[in-house]
């Protein structure tokens, strides 16, 4: 009986070895391990054996059964793996073919820049204030210390609609309106982005419409050193840690003192080059301490309150940053221009 079992085992293992597909393995399994299979037969005949041999043969029969089952399972695994590998091999694609394009939109360069600047100032506690583009003469000029007859408010330079209504020439009227709303009480801490209009003929450096971002801080103890601190923080975040700023005296009717802020030239690091016209500095924005007349007209006591204001042109900043040579590009909406700034 022992020989019979060994024989069966050898035959079965041979058949397992020879099986090339799962189906054949299944047949081997049925043939040898099935209820009517030879091993079962052997076990059935065990009653005829002497008592002491029975456990030995029983054990052997079980071992053989186990061994065959394991062989079948191992072989099955192997065949399945091979089949899967083959299938995967067949499923191989050309990964270098182009993918299905996902939609690619993006912001306008100016909006992107304005949002970046907004976020910088929001981080310093500023709010974003907006106001009408068609303005009353009073807010655009008078409230900003530009009374009627002032040389800086020539009819020739502004788009008037009526004598009292015009396209705003800067976003400063938003400052005047916001201060007025606060009824003489501080603090006011805002930046005002928006479209502005000047009576210019469009060319490479002039645009009858452009954008501006102005900032205003009015409170009881605002110092010029605070203006320096805020502008410095802005310049470093916007243009790079290594940029220096400097203030130069300038003139605006709504601030006194008035300054212009330069940043050290990125191209030459301050040595002087064609970008900075040899000076090492690039003019970025105008600023100053809010003129007492402006405070007063908005209902603030200039003895108690001081403030600073600044204003910059996103177009100019973009032109400097990217070397854009024609301001009209911002408004032509050439997709070859727009798309370049969709990338991060």
């Amino acid at each position: 009986m022992q020989e019979r079992l060994q024989e069966l085992k050898a035959d079965a293992l041979k058949q397992v070895e020879e099986a090339n597909e799962v189906k054949a393995l299944q047949d081997v399994k049925v043939q040898y391990l099935g209820k009517k299979g030879p091993i079962t037969e052997v076990l059935k005949g065990m009653g005829k054996l002497p008592k002491e041999e029975r456990p030995v043969i029983g054990q052997l029969a079980n071992d053989v059964r186990e061994e065959i089952a394991t062989a079948i399972e191992t072989k099955k695994q192997k065949l399945e793996n091979e089949a899967l590998e083959k299938q995967l091999e067949e499923e191989t694609i050309d990964v270098t073919l182009p993918g299905r394009p996902a939609p690619t939109g993006g912001p306008h360069l100016l909006t992107n820049l304005i949002e970046e600047i907004e976020d910088l100032f929001i981080g310093m506690g500023f709010e974003v204030a907006e106001g009408p583009e068609v303005e009353a003469d009073y807010y655009n000029f008078e409230a900003l210390n530009l009374p009627k007859g002032h040389p800086a408010r020539d009819m020739q330079d502004s788009f008037y609609i009526t004598e009292e209504i015009l396209m705003r020439t800067h976003t400063s009227p938003v400052q005047a309106r916001t201060m007025e709303k606060h009824e003489g009480k501080g603090p006011v801490k805002i930046i005002c982005p928006g479209k502005v209009y000047r009576r210019d003929t469009d060319d490479a450096t002039h645009s009858h419409q452009f954008t501006q971002i102005e900032g205003l801080l009015v409170d009881k103890h605002v110092r010029m050193s605070d203006l320096k601190g805020v502008l410095n923080a802005f310049a470093k975040q916007m243009f790079g840690e290594e940029r220096e700023i400097r203030l130069r005296p300038s003139f605006f009717p709504f601030t006194e003192p008035s300054v212009e802020m330069d940043i050290s030239c990125k191209m030459c690091g301050g040595e002087g080059c064609s970008v900075c016209k040899g000076t090492g500095w690039i003019e970025i924005l105008g600023a100053g301490m809010v003129h007492p007349n402006v405070l007063e007209m908005a209902g603030y006591d200039p003895k108690e309150y001081t403030g600073f204001a600044f204003g910059m042109g996103p177009e100019r900043i973009a032109m400097l940053k990217y070397g854009i040579d024609d301001i009209r590009h911002f408004y032509t909406n050439d997709v070859r221009f727009l798309n370049q700034f969709h990338k991060a």
Partner: protein, 812 residues
């Protein structure tokens, strides 16, 4: 303002600073130096030569053969200039010299004669021909006889070629620097040094000017000071070389000594003067008055000008002889034969001069200075200085006295400052001594009382009137670089965006993610475009596009009532440049008014608009290609409304809108109220814009944002399964899917959560005029698991309802 450094050195010690360093300092303390330009190039081997002989070239009619003494030798030079002559002192470029333009001077033979060098014209030395005096325009330059020019001496400095010019960009408040003296005060304060003032001593004759002229001012408010001097026996001729050099360096062309001297003093003092030919003045009385309406004068430029009562004129008691501060009359102009001069030094009202200068289109060095108000203290002194120069350089005899009308205020403004307030505003820690020091440098006198300074502002600094003006003076002299960096104190604000601003950003980011590019178009458009494609929610009978009073062009004359027309133009621009696929959005304002003449500002309404045309998806190798169509656009907008959680409040209504395709346009309604539209552009307009199939949209963002709920809520994820059922309905062709869906949702309440169109079929197996619409429905009760019977019941209710509403049959 051009500042010659060689000239500036006459008044202030520049302490050996290089022009660049000086420019940097001036820029940082007060006035932007926009340019530092060498006036000329110093030229080696350029010397003063004496023309000993000048004979005609033996072989050429138009050439001269000159023997020129250049100090250490005599050179034979062939010269073609018509004005060369024996006895002249000239500028000689010896062999080895290199003239501007890298023109190297070498020994050469010209028509057989040796020529060792060149006798130079001013142009050849690099001076712009517009500054070259007329007599030298077509020939060589000749040193005036009185020039202290030794033969053989270096000619570079005599011709001022070693000068450097600073170009100052003056802000409107710094008109004090519209003069060499003003610049000198500024630079002296910066360098902590003194200003050497010019000599104003005049040698006078016994005869009194008052015997020869009288002055009467009939408009004192416009002319508080008028001073007249009389200078006799003048010889009109060229002015001295140094003066001419300085004028040229300042950008003024020398004419003759009388004109040059008035110009010179204008530049030196900032005080415009006028010299009348005394003998042609027409009388012995100067009367200043407002012009009569319609009165005329022929000005120096030979133009006949008509005046109005806004203009101030100088008259001879009868006729105008000058427009005050703007331009003199032709009849009394100084000319070569002039022997007596009536010299005017006056203070004219800035506004009056500005008005006249503008009305007549005459902006001059004079009018510019009067417009900014001249320094009262220098008016009379400038006259004296000019008289002195006329006596010295035009041999004039100055009659005694200035005949004047004087109601001018010479009072100095007083501004009180305190050290503590100064520090408070600047954020500095200055001491009283700092302030004292700065005031001393500025040349401002003061009375000090503790930390309080009563500062007297010199009349030359008319721009300083209030405390804040002094903050600027003290601050800039202290040095803006030395003000520390601090961050604002105070209560501290959180900062941030309003709900509206945050939503706007959210919308932008969504649209960009959906594949749209942001465009920015001009708000000002043509009259035609301002009235085109106005959204139905905006359009009213009385709508009037707002237009500019004085547009620069028709292109930008009217305020838009829709962004779409300009966006279409942008799309068209791209397509003309072979960029076929355009998908734009723009967020911006339209300007709504019903007034034909505005009495108040128009309503500015923020809208979202856009244009789509061309391909939407293009993935050819997998045979996937889709052009933009109505549903591409609608899908984007649906996504947007869903993002704002307004999807259920939005409906689309088929509509006819002017300029739009009549069958492919929908009005978008929010809770039953129109807020915009979307659809295909009318083919006629597509053609006009040179566009293929193009879709546009225009939505009222403010209405949309107003509907966005502030509440943030959460619906728990259902724990019970939903049941899906599909339903295909056969209806008449004109039944709208949206209406059918509405019926389904109504009838399916409360179990139907979801009804999605998944198929639309027309054609075979369906009767003529019918279509099949298939919906996928989802039934759910969040509280329990539905039974088949319950779903069946709801389903039947839906079938009944659509049958009743639209005669819909279940498709067999």
């Amino acid at each position: 303002m051009f500042v010659s450094l060689n000239w500036l050195k006459q008044y202030v010690d520049l302490q050996g600073l290089t022009p660049e360093d000086l420019a940097e300092k001036i820029t940082k303390t007060g006035i932007e130096v926009e340019g530092v330009e060498p006036f000329g190039e110093p030229i080696e081997h350029l010397v003063v030569g004496y023309v000993k002989e000048c004979a005609q070239h033996p072989n050429a009619d138009k050439l001269n053969l000159c023997q020129v003494d250049v100090g250490d030798e005599t050179l034979q030079i062939v010269c073609g200039a018509p004005n060369v002559a024996q006895g002249q002192k000239v500028a000689v470029a010896k062999p080895g010299a290199v003239l501007p333009g890298n023109f190297k001077i070498k020994k050469a033979k010209l028509r057989g004669e040796e020529s060792s060098g060149m006798i130079c014209s001013l142009q050849e030395l690099g001076i712009d021909s517009k500054y070259v005096p007329k007599e030298y325009e077509d020939g060589i330059f000749v040193f005036p006889e009185d020039t202290d020019a030794e033969v053989g001496a270096d000619a570079t400095s005599l011709l001022n070629l070693d000068d450097v010019i600073l170009e100052l960009g003056l802000t409107p408040n710094r008109s004090d620097a519209l003069s060499m003296l003003g610049v000198a005060y500024e630079v002296a304060a910066m360098l902590d040094t003194d200003v050497k003032l010019p000599n104003e001593d005049v040698q006078i004759t016994d005869q009194k000017a008052s015997e020869e002229v009288s002055v009467k001012v009939d408009a004192t408010d416009l002319n508080p000071y008028y001073g007249a001097m009389v200078i006799r026996n003048i010889e009109v001729g060229p002015s001295p070389l140094w003066m001419r050099n300085r004028l040229v360096a300042s950008g003024i062309r020398p004419i003759n000594n009388v004109v040059d001297i008035t110009n010179y003093v204008l530049l030196e003092y900032g005080q415009p003067l006028h010299a009348f030919d005394y003998d042609r003045f027409g009388s012995k009385e100067v009367v200043v008055r407002r012009a009569q309406e319609g009165e005329t004068i022929k000005t120096l430029d030979d133009e006949e000008r008509t005046l109005s009562s806004d203009h101030l004129v100088i008259t001879n008691g009868k006729d105008p002889v000058a427009i005050a501060g703007v331009m003199g009359g032709a009849d009394s102009e100084v000319h070569e034969g002039t022997t007596s001069v009536l010299l005017e030094a006056a203070y004219f009202d800035p506004q009056t001069v500005r008005k006249a200068s503008k009305d007549h289109g005459l902006r001059s060095e004079s009018s510019v200075r009067f417009e900014k108000a001249v320094d009262p203290d220098r008016v009379k002194r400038a006259g004296l200085r000019a008289a002195q120069l006329l006596s010295q350089y035009a041999n004039g005899e100055v009659l005694e006295g200035v005949v004047d009308h004087d109601e001018l205020s010479y009072e100095e403004a007083v501004v009180t400052i305190t050290t503590s307030r100064m520090n408070h505003v600047l954020g500095t820690n200055m001491t009283d001594e700092h302030i004292q020091d700065i005031l001393r440098k500025l040349g401002f006198s003061y009375n000090q009382n503790g930390e309080e300074f009563e500062v007297s502002i010199p009349t030359r600094r008319g721009d300083i009137t209030i405390f804040e003006d002094m903050v600027e003076e003290i601050g800039r002299m202290y040095g803006y670089d030395d003000i520390p960096f601090t961050m604002p104190g105070g209560e501290g604000n959180a900062g941030g965006l309003t709900k509206h601003q945050s939503l706007r950003r959210k919308v932008r980011h969504y649209l960009e993610g959906a594949g749209l590019s942001e465009a920015i178009t001009y708000s000002l458009t043509t009259e035609e475009r301002a009235q085109m494609l106005i959204s139905p929610d905006v359009k009213t009978e009385d709508l009037r596009p707002v237009h500019l009073a004085m547009p620069m062009s028709e292109e930008h004359s009217h305020l838009r009532l829709s962004m779409v027309p300009e966006l279409l133009a942008s799309a068209s621009y791209n397509i003309a440049r072979k960029q076929q696929d355009v998908a734009f959005y723009e967020i911006g304002s339209i300007y709504v008014s019903e007034e034909s003449i505005l009495t108040k500002q128009p309503n500015e309404e923020e809208r979202l608009s856009g244009v789509l045309t061309g391909s939407w998806v293009s993935h050819p190798w997998q045979q996937e290609k889709k052009n933009v169509d109505f549903y591409v656009l609608k899908g984007i907008l649906e996504g947007l409304f869903d993002l704002l959680d307004l999807e259920s409040e939005i409906t689309y209504k088929q509509a006819k809108v002017e300029g739009m395709h009549p069958g492919r346009t929908a009005i978008i309604e929010l809770n039953g109220k129109a807020i915009g539209h979307l659809g295909q552009l009318h083919p006629a307009l597509q053609k006009e814009y040179d566009l293929k199939e193009t879709y546009v949209y225009d939505v009222d963002l403010e209405a949309l944002f107003a509907a966005v709920s502030d509440e943030e809520s959460y619906t728990p994820i259902p724990r019970h399964p939903s049941v899906s059922r599909d339903i295909a309905l056969v209806v008449d062709n004109d039944v709208k899917a949206g209406d059918l869906r509405k019926s389904i949702l109504e009838a399916g309440q409360p179990l139907v959560q979801h009804a999605l169109v998944f198929d639309l079929y027309q054609g075979e197996h369906l009767p003529e005029g019918k279509k099949s619409l298939a919906f996928s429905l989802r039934y759910l009760d969040p509280t329990r698991t539905l039974t088949d019977e319950e779903v069946e019941e709801a389903h039947n209710a839906i079938l009944e309802k659509v049958k009743a509403d639209y005669n819909a049959e279940l498709r067999g």
